[in-house]
């Protein structure tokens, strides 16, 4: 009797703490970071297919890259165009080469392929989440840049969980929706 009461109390306690923590994290995410001006932040950049990558590269081209170091790129294993090729379309190839040489480029399993049935998608999504977790633990970025390809969903979910559970309140996730240039 007593032990089940304690069990119930404990569960309620943990859930309450989690809910408060989640509200705090969401609230704090709206405001700029208070910490003093950082020198450079390790950055994870999520690339999707076609238009997503093109728009992300547009942004990276105007960003002061000294502030975002070291840089890690993640793309889905099945997105066929290589990062370097993509970059050569937008910036001088010599700069593209330097970037690809100086950054780390990784591949992640995709949650779901275009046209894949929803049933099998459950399994592949779980694999993608596990893989994303592994990559996030390995990299532990301070900033994540992504603009909405499916590839970024497991990563963003895990980033949020890190913020809640691991008290990484300063982990900043920029999620811009693709096509913001047409008006969001």
């Amino acid at each position: 009797m007593a032990s089940s009461n304690i069990g119930v109390l404990l569960t309620i306690g943990v859930i309450t703490v989690l809910v408060i923590r989640i509200i705090y994290v969401i609230n704090r995410s709206r405001k700029p970071l208070h910490s003093k001006s950082p020198r450079s932040l390790s950055t994870l950049i999520v690339l999707g297919s076609g238009g997503h990558t093109a728009e992300m590269l547009n942004l990276l081209y105007v960003l002061q890259t000294e502030r975002f170091k070291p840089r890690y790129y993640i793309a889905a294993a099945t997105d066929n165009m290589s990062l370097q090729k993509h970059m050569c379309l937008r910036i001088p190839c010599s700069e593209a080469l330097k970037e690809v040489g100086g950054a780390e480029f990784m591949q992640i399993y995709r949650s779901r392929e275009v046209g894949q049935s929803y049933i099998t998608s459950v399994g592949t999504t779980l694999v993608a989440i596990a893989h994303a977790l592994w990559l996030m633990i390995k990299i532990r970025p301070q900033v994540i840049l992504c603009n909405g390809p499916g590839t970024c969903i497991p990563l963003c979910v895990i980033a949020f969980l890190f913020k809640v559970c691991l008290l990484e309140s300063d982990l900043f996730v920029l999620l811009t929706y693709l096509y913001c240039q047409v008006g969001c």
């Binding site: 700029p32 910490s35 932040l41 960003l63 002061q64 502030r67 900043f172 240039q181 047409v182």
Partner: protein, 178 residues
Amino acid sequence: MGDIDDITKEKRVVFVTVGTTSFDALVRAVDTPEVKNELFKKGYTDILIQMGRGSYTPTRASAENGFPALDYFTFSSSIADYLKSASLVISHAGSGSIFETLRLGKPLIVVVNEDLMDNHQSELAEELAERKHLYCARPQTLYKTISDMDPGSLVPYQPGGAKPVAELIYRYLGFPED
């Protein structure tokens, strides 16, 4: 002799592109007598189709009475050159193709692929069509869109910059702004 012919007959190319996708419905729709004839009536001399990963192969043809010449290829390392020399672009609804074409100031018909799930692409195409930057069609309505269109009435597109987004990021992270 050939030079005189080239000068008097200026090539007006319709460039059809499906990007890295497979979009047989569009290629099929272009390769019909109705669409080809309509393009001919609008003054286009050549149709060039970039068919990507599609399985339907159009029929190569030289220009004949009532029809433009037709040629095709699968991929190119940069279709920018083809876009630059086109008088009209018919494209799948990929944002890369759309914005690259708009930046070059070319008249554009975007054809939405109805087989794609959760058609976020069609939202983009329809919004831009509403703003009169391009025409939006489905493979079945392509013929009508071509016959009704007036490319001169399209509004040029002013590209937005990424600078404001970068400034926002700096402010958020505590970096001094540029």
